[in-house]
Amino acid sequence: MACDFSLSSASFISLILTLFIGQNLITKDIDRRSIYTVISLPIKRGEYIIGKFLGLLTLILFSVTILSALGGLSVCIAGVLSPQEINQTISWGNYFLASLFIFLKLAIIAAILFLFSSLATSAFLPLSLAIAFYMIAESVEEVRIFIESASPNIKPNLAIQYLAKLAYYIFPNFEAFDLKPAAIYSLPIDTGHLVYLAAYSLFYMVIAMAIAAIIFERREFL
């Protein structure tokens, strides 16, 4: 219970941080026209955007680390203050992995935020698109399962079925990144799967950032 709470709040607070800080990083530069001084410097625009992205990643990393470490501490204190009879073992290795994958998930969101920022003119658009992206990514698997297992009389029409399938392949499956149960109930974790999952998130990030860089390179500032 305490463990679930601490991991969930670490994830939630870091998500808010990512969204609200990330939305400003590029759009503010454009808005205040400080971008002119930056693009006149002898660095590539791609470097600029990737540098900003890495900065945001550092921030997220710190946020998740500090929050989950403090959360872990409070779990320990709660465990001492009110010991439980059942379900008292928390696997700290899994706890660490769970926070690592929270970080990777937020990193994907940050990359998407940058992708939208690279073509948006206001700060509001990338923010709302990124929130929508997050919600879709969290539920694609659930929707796919629903469509595949729905009985024929409540099955949605073919177009929606294909749309859901398409969404499942385009959006990352954030549910796979949720290792909280593994930490709370010390479930066994398939390490090979985690390696693929981490690679999956890295590739997704690289693709999003590469597209963002390309768009940003070609963009004209008036």
């Binding site: 219970m1 679930d4 709470f5 969930s8 994830s11 939630f12 998500l15 059942i86 379900n87 997050y134 919600m135 969290e138 539920s139 659930e142 929707v143 629903f146 954030f174 949720d178 909280k180 149960p181 709370i184 109930y185 479930l187």
Partner: protein
Amino acid sequence: MRISRQLPIILILISILGYTVSFSQVDRYRRNNRLESRIAYIPPVGMLKVISLDYKGIVSKLLLFRGMVYYGERQEQNVRQDLPWMYNSFEASTTLDPYNIDSYYFAQATLPWDGMVAETNRILERGMKHRDWDFYIPFFIGFNHFHFLGDDAKAAEYFDIAAKLNPALIELSLKFHYRANQIPVAIAILEELYSKINNEEIRKNITTRIEAYTGADTLYKGVQAYKKRYNNIPHPLNQLIVRGIIEEIPKDPYGGEFYYDAKEDRIKTTSNFLFKK
């Protein structure tokens, strides 16, 4: 000039007074008309799964807490709970986080005692599938089968599963197989146990128990045969020898006497399978 300078201070003082009065009114109203935790609408489980995003665990625990607070309040006021609502709440809670032992625990502590046995078992079955290391859940299901449904055979089946996870429960599973007249199953469990254990003392105990169960099994089969043939109960058990169904009444190695309890259709012994102290 002087008035306008003091005006804000006067305004603040008047407002503080007014605030205090109105706050006390609001506070009194809220205290007197406090809404007890009402049963709120629980969205369909499929929808809940989608809208709770990354926070399924927290939502699951929230549903459990709401159920607990609701139950406790009603209990204090001696008002009957809305059980179907509570069932829905636990159902949703355990679907969102199928590992959430607290939800299973609380569901077991409340629902079956008010008649929702089959529903509780359905929830618990889900827990058994996910928490496959946890002996509590099969133990609960077994208990429900025994206590509420009176089905000893089913109870023994679940106690078996629980005993595999927690060897301390083997005695329980044996008893229930015995109660359900599945004595050969109980003997098989004992034999398996015998082959796994090296301690001579325990092995001796197991052998004694196997001997006693084998005797009871012979008698039970004899009684069934007698019933089939004569449509009557052999009373006393010596009748079985007289009619040539068995050759002798097996001895109870615990020092008791076997007898047949017709009401429960079971062979019992005066020693109750325990050595006299």
